[in-house]
Amino acid sequence: MLRYVASRILLAVPVFLGVATIVFLVVRVIPGDPAVAALGDYASKEAVEALRQRMGLDEPLLVQYTRFLAGLARGDLGRSMITGASVREQIAHALPYTLELTLGAVLVGALLGIPVGVYTAIRRNRLADYLGRVFSLAGLSVPAFYLGILLTLLVALRLGWLPAVGGGDAADAGDRLRHLVLPALTLGLVMTASVARLTRSAMLGVLRQDYVRTARAKGLAEGAVRLRHALGSALIPIVSITGLWAVSLIGDSVTVEVVFARPGLGKMMVGAILQRDYTALQSVMVVYTAFVVGINLVTDLAYAWVDPRVSRG
């Protein structure tokens, strides 16, 4: 198991560096000049040139790249090209919001999706099963931003139960939770549909197995058969997909953060693109990369823990 863990960690390093390099190059291909974006179209040519020099944009690409890597190694993510604010501080502020949104969405997806999947498998070919499958299909088909707007119109505007936009008061956990509910539901319901479908399939497959029949024959209660014997085995593919979904949800969080005007890495990234803030953009994308690599690593390790056969190769 230790060897497996070490190999996964070592593999993550070149992946991370490779993506960071691609990010560095891609942001510089985007048309538009950060200095002009910062100063506006009224600024003189001299002012724009002076700012370009201060931003280091007049230096050769290799010099800029070396400085970028050296900064990464030191944990220095630089300063915003537009406002001069520390990018690390901006990310430190935005990151918890993205993490809580993603975690909330994963919890919604898992805590709703698994029970729905189990129940529809148990009630196979009955009304509950049909309803569950329609719900899954609808959930997979509806775009997250559309769902978000619908939820907001109903829950926030019509019923007045929850706030419509924003991330809440950073110092008030209750207020942050209130502001988290709708965005997490929006992001998580799509995952719910997928998890429910997969859980249903996995459960149906497991419930047909001989050992399940044996467990029933031994006189165990049906609940124990389903939850202790069947569900445990059915969880293996669900763990995999939860990890994949967590990665996907981090990307989808961009849309939800913009629609709900929530602070977060996604909103920060969109803003950096629009403002041509190279420093902020490449730093945010590096952080996203670290997340994806990290989540994949955790998923692989969790998979090995659930199914020890994986780590034995």
Binding site: K45, E46, T83, G160, L162, P163, L274
Partner: protein, 536 residues
Amino acid sequence: MRRPIALVVMLLPATALALGPLAGPRAAGAAGILKLAQLSSDLQTLDPHFAATTPDRSVVDMVFNGLIRYKPGDGSVFEPDLATALPTARVADGKQVWTFQLRKGVMCHGSEGVPTYPLTSEDVVYSLQKASDKNRSAYAADYTGMTVDAPDAATVRVTLDHPLSSGLFYPKVANYSGGLIVCKKPAEKLGADGLKTHPAGTGPFMFKSYTPQERVVLVANPAYFRGKPQLDGVEIRYMPDLNSRELGLRNGQLDVINGTPDKAWVDGLKGVANVKVDVFGVGEVATLFFRTTTPPLDKPEVRKALAHALDRQEFLALIGQGIAEPVYSPVPAKFLPGGLGEKEVQARGLDYPHDLVRAKKLLADAGLPQGFSLEVVTSELPGYRVLYESLQAQLAKVGVKVAVKVVDHATMHSLIRKDANPLVIYIAWRPNADVYLTQFFHSDSIVVSGKKPNVNFAHYDRIDGLVERARAETDQAKQVQAWKDAQLKILEDMVAYPIQYQNQVYARSAAVDYGHELVSVLALYPGITEKTRLNR
């Protein structure tokens, strides 16, 4: 086992409804803090001598003053601000001199490491010198030939190498762009980078905090020389998505939002209880420029053909009457002296009425009976995209095929300044006719190849003399006539087709009282002053 589960599932929604809201939405503007949501993902700079976007201008408008100001809500009227009176010019040693007496008791905001202190002429001189320095101001070109000095702590003297009319001088010292007065001590302490995110002026609201990509928080200045503001503070939220802003307003989380120039949106929101929509000037002018150095647009008859192929009413229908209005000259007559009204251009046959037959004949006379093809780029912003798409559809009727490529806004601005488009639609507001004509039509401003490249997309060079003569004219009536003459020449040569101006659209809670009528505001937002209040 099944029944309890089914029972819980059935009762859950009913239970939730019975319990009522988990938490009602917070009332916006608690304790008199007005929440304004702007169309932006973040600020760019709060240094007033660089601020150019509407969100940035709205913040600096609340934090800084000028020596004089545009009357709140009516940008056609000047009033004293930091100065006690509007100055009149006198001549000394062959130069034009404008002298300002400063009000007493104006306090500079305290900032990090610098306590609040009384404003003096030293601060004003510092600020105007900063505004005229091309390394410390984007508006330095507006202050060429100007020197500032302070005979005493309460007097500021501005000397011009070349005399100007009051119509051209006042905007330079008004509460807009380079005229906003930055207090010297906090500016020197903060430095150029600090000033971007920590503005310190003398205005009714003081900077408190900035959270990147989220908000700027201002608090009331209790020592404001016009009296303590009626609001406790203002929170400017950065929300680029219109739906988010609208939902926040309707939910009570926001008090004022930047809307969109779309009649359907405006009409929809007018029907919402406790929400008001304000449509006001200044209008940003949309003008179509023809690159006169590119065949076949180098032929005047071709340009005139395209002008006749276009229909201002069709462009207007995209936005909606009232939200947009037609214009007949590059300088909007509704808001600025020197603009040409419909009757004036009609009297000279320069209104180019929509006439497809005439357009086709002109093209045939130019040897292009089948039309021709062009490629352009447009911004993805609706304000630009719909105009380009309408242009494409209208010109297709006379055989002119315009291929339109959509790019993001910053890319469009970058590309058109590299002369990528043979046809350019540009939407802009400028504070006076001289700036419009200089930036868009003087030969120095020709994109890429001009002496001081700016936005002369037409590569036009035939009104330089008129523009310079108007600038030097101190008689207001003669100055206005010179501007009009310049624009008549532009229309005769048809290097630019004025399309429309688009008003500003903001929505607010019915509880918001701005404290002034809304006619025109140069900062492109309703204007929040010490008289603005929340009536809750």
